[in-house]
Amino acid sequence: MTEMVYGAVPAQGGEPILPKWWRTIDKWTISCVLILFAIGLLLGFAASPPLAERNGHDPFHYVERQAFFGGLALIAMIVTSMMSPTLVRRLAVLGFLVAFVGLALLPFFGTDFGKGAVRWYSLGFASVQPSEFLKPGFVVVAAWMMAASHQIHGPPGTAWSFALCVAIVLMLALQPDFGQACLVLFGWGVMYFVAGAPMLLLVIMAGMVVLAGSFAYANSEHFARRIDGFLNPEIDPTTQLGYATNAIREGGLLGVGVGEGEVKWSLPDAHTDFIIAVAAEEYGLILVLIIIGLYTSIVVRSLLRLMRERDTFVRLAGTGLACIFAVQAMINMGVAVRLLPAKGMTLPFVSYGGSSLIAGGIAVGMLLAFTRTRPQGQIGDILRGRVR
């Protein structure tokens, strides 16, 4: 009666947030992320003093900034990872809309920092690259659309998401920022693959990529030079790649020692695109293998956990996020050892960068949110006798 008169006692449904988070989060992955971040700070001590010196700051100016933004990124990551998939989806869609508008307005309000491509908004104390925030947002939106198309009587979400993907790729290519465009395209392709793309279509798409590549090779001198440089077995030691290769060699197994490295003085991008070369030179192959191991375990563990996931949206969104994260790391390290053609791509969580670090934190936070342990209806399977 009391309840009928006064309404229900506002009782907590389920367990408190933090214990639940700690119980369901993938502790391996989050540990790996934290270690990666620590390694990033450590390498920042090694790689960024030359840059600070060039720009007239204290030697560890960039390390401090990295620690500050890294702290923000970690907070963003943990907060995001506490959200439910639905909340993540809602916020991500909003974030995606904001980033999309930001990307569209770049030609009018953005700056190029003298690098020839308008990719940034300058906020005075920091710069923001909308495409960094757009990537995780797009993954979530596309996963949502694809999942919707898997409903009976659902909308043709896959086609919508493809149209959106094409639009974003075109906008990025116009900046031009082919690296991010490729990442977005790749992320969509992986999600479509997991969502059940017909094999024939996948083969045709692979063919199209080859065609587009050869078209770009024939028509873009910039692109052709990079590919030629990649195919040429001789490394010109005065190029960035030459320095990077040499640094990895110099490092050997155990490295030349903390602060003894030389490559950071010669490479303008030592703190971002070629940070792995700095790591290899100063700390040796061991640290590099540890870094590779960390990335591998984050990605592979996430994918394995997503295998058990029954919610289509969660599965697709998690796959997209994990793959973009993995590919970014792969490209960065693959370039340094000349497995891939030169393409500027930061190493997630390790490279220096303000907004990209926060965007990375949010993305990994989403991934953690999607890979949390959830009831997957196995009891129902058992009851229905469908246990394999």
Binding site: V194, P237, T238, L285, Y295, V299, L303, M307, T312, M330
Partner: protein, 594 residues
């Protein structure tokens, strides 16, 4: 499988019959279908996710493995391979027609300083000034103690100087290897070779670029690595060039001339065997271009191709030859040369106001009659005269392949009227370089073909278009021979080598109009051997004066001709021309003149 969709419908029909609401069953059906679909999708996604996971695992392993391979490989010595930044050294040699070296390269060192590395900048400046007396101690001191991080001290140093600098033991003084251009024959053929200096300069090498002469004209060829160091072969003959320079220098001194030039040219090929311009310079230490005064007085001035002079009576043979070619006259046609003769109110006089009366065409040339030549030119007319001189290449700069040749632009009147026709016929009112004259005489000497003068060795005759018939050319040669035997060039007797030629003495024009009385350009244009000319020799003296007589003599017959004769006597044997000393038709003439 066909029955599966039927069953739900059966249940719905059953429910309707029982009066139940079929919607719940409909929803249940959809839910089941959906679940089944999700299960299928999940099973597929599971395998695909596994594939993805394996792919990323392998990819990361490959990167790690590759990292390990690179890290374990031996560090290579980084090779200094910077494309584009490389300075192409090794300039090709220049050789004469027999392959003797005219210009080559020599390894030396450049000295530079890096003041930040210096231990004792003051002491270094002090001692460097002792080793190199031409360096300014104060300036070195200033440079070494200032803020500069890099100072070129000296571009080329000798091995002894290098050792001396080495002995200073100063770590901030460094040497960069250099290839310098060396002209082992010194002043010989200086104007042809021109000179070279450093272009783009780096610490480890410097580019050698031509600054004048063939070095500049053929700069691309000499620097082109595609030629594989193939030498540039010139038409010059080193021995003959040396003899010609020696004779011309002596002649210039004896005749008190301020400058002189000579050109020896093969009449069939156009090859210039020797070309001399005095005063000259040493291309190893090429002087700077003068900033004041008359540039034509500078040693750098190449009189043979840049000096544009009125060449006087040497032109008369062109008028005579053209008149014969047009059929207006033959060598024996008698023309009245008596005065007075006025063209447009301007009197045409003779040398020393002589009056030759009626002369044959041959004798007009032999006696160098202005009026006789002028009358022939009036018959020819301005248009035909201009065309003929144009065919001889006298209205354009010579195509001679040294950069300075383009500066030898002939001067001729814009309005080429009758007066111009007459004065040009005896070499006034039109200015050409001695090289133009040599090419014109070569056309007469080779039987009537224009040949363009060249500095490059040729294979066989290089005849251009025909300008005279062989008969007229032969007749003109005979007239020129007669000038030597009977006329103004009697000093051109060379034992064994019959010479034909024509003298020319032109008053030098004043800078502000009019002509000097006592400054002349004396020219002797000759060909030898006269019975079958193989070579043309043009000797021009600038302001000569011969003072052995009781009054100074300036005419070419007294100045340029003896010099040319001496030169022919020296170089004809070197050219391999057999002397005609056997008693023959001309032997008597040669002997009687002795």
């Amino acid at each position: 499988m066909i029955r599966t969709p039927l069953r739900p419908l059966a249940r719905i029909l059953e429910a309707r019959r029982k009066g139940e609401n079929p919607d719940a069953i409909e929803r249940e059906n959809i839910r089941l279908r959906h679940e089944e679909m999700q299960d299928r999708a999940r099973a597929r996604a599971e395998s695909r996710l596994l594939v993805l996971g394996l792919f990323f695992f392998c990819a990361f392993m490959v990167i790690g493995g590759r990292m390990g391979l690179v890290a374990m490989s031996e560090p290579m010595e980084p090779r200094a391979q910077a494309p584009g930044a490389q300075i192409a050294a090794q300039r090709a040699d220049i050789v004469d027609r027999h392959g003797r070296i005219l210009a080559t390269n020599f390894e030396t060192h450049a000295l530079y300083a890096q003041p930040p590395q210096m231990i004792d900048p003051e002491g270094a400046a002090e001692k460097l000034a002792e080793i190199f007396p031409d360096l300014d101690r104060e300036k070195l001191h200033r440079q070494f103690t200032g803020k500069r991080k890099f100072v070129w001290v000296k571009r080329k140093i000798s091995p002894e100087q290098k050792q001396a600098v080495h002995d200073l033991g100063e770590p901030g003084l460094l040497f960069g290897p250099r290839e310098m251009r060396l002209y082992p024959n010194g002043k010989l053929a200086a104007h042809v070779l021109g000179g070279a200096s450093f272009g783009k300069e780096g610490v480890s090498a410097a580019e050698v670029i031509g600054v004048a002469g063939v070095e500049k004209q053929f700069d691309q060829f000499l620097r082109d690595p595609a030629n594989g160091g193939k030498a540039l072969q010139l038409s010059l003959d080193l021995t003959i060039q040396a003899a010609a320079e020696q004779v011309l220098y002596g002649g210039m001194r004896i005749m008190n001339a301020k400058g002189a030039t000579s050109i020896l040219m093969d009449v069939h090929t156009g090859e210039v065997i020797s070309v001399v311009s005095l005063p000259d310079f040493d291309p190893n230490d090429r002087p700077r271009p003068p900033t004041e005064g008359d540039p034509s007085d500078s040693p750098l001035f190449n009189r043979a191709v840049q000096g544009v002079y009125e060449l006087g009576s040497t032109y008369k043979i062109f008028a005579a030859a053209q008149a014969m070619e047009l059929g207006l006259v033959n060598p024996d046609t008698i023309i009245d040369t008596s005065g007075p003769m006025r063209i447009g109110g301007f009197p045409i006089g003779e040398f020393r106001n002589k009056n030759y009366g009626k002369l044959s065409v041959a004798d007009i040339i032999v006696n160098s009659s202005n009026r006789g030549t002028g009358r022939m030119a009036l018959e020819i007319g301005p248009t035909r005269q201009k065309e003929f001189l144009s065919n001889l290449g006298m209205l354009d700069p010579t195509p001679f392949e040294i950069v300075e040749a383009a500066g030898g632009q002939p001067l001729f009147p814009q309005r080429w009227g009758e007066l111009s026709t007459v004065t040009i016929s005896y070499g006034h009112g039109m200015s050409n370089t001695p090289m133009h004259l040599a090419a014109g005489y070569a056309a007469i000497a080779n039987g009537g073909h224009y040949v363009s003068p060249t500095i490059l060795k040729q294979n066989g005759p290089q005849y251009g278009p025909r300008v005279l018939s062989p008969e007229v050319a032969k007749a003109s040669q005979k007239i020129l021979r007669k000038v030597v035997t009977d006329g103004t060039a009697s000093f051109a007797h060379v034992p064994g080598y019959p010479v034909g030629g024509k003298t020319g003495t032109a008053d030098k024009p004043k800078a502000r109009g009019g002509y000097y009385d006592d400054k002349v350009i004396a020219t002797f244009a000759s060909m030898f051997p006269a019975d079958d000319p193989q070579y043309v020799l043009v000797v021009t003296l600038d302001e000569p004066v011969e003072t052995s007589g009781d009054k100074p003599r300036r005419t070419a017959g007294w100045t340029a001709v003896p010099v040319a004769a001496e030169m022919i006597a020296r170089i004809a044997p070197l050219l391999g021309i057999r002397p005609q000393l056997e008693p023959g038709p001309r032997a008597a003439i040669t002997l009687t003149s002795n």
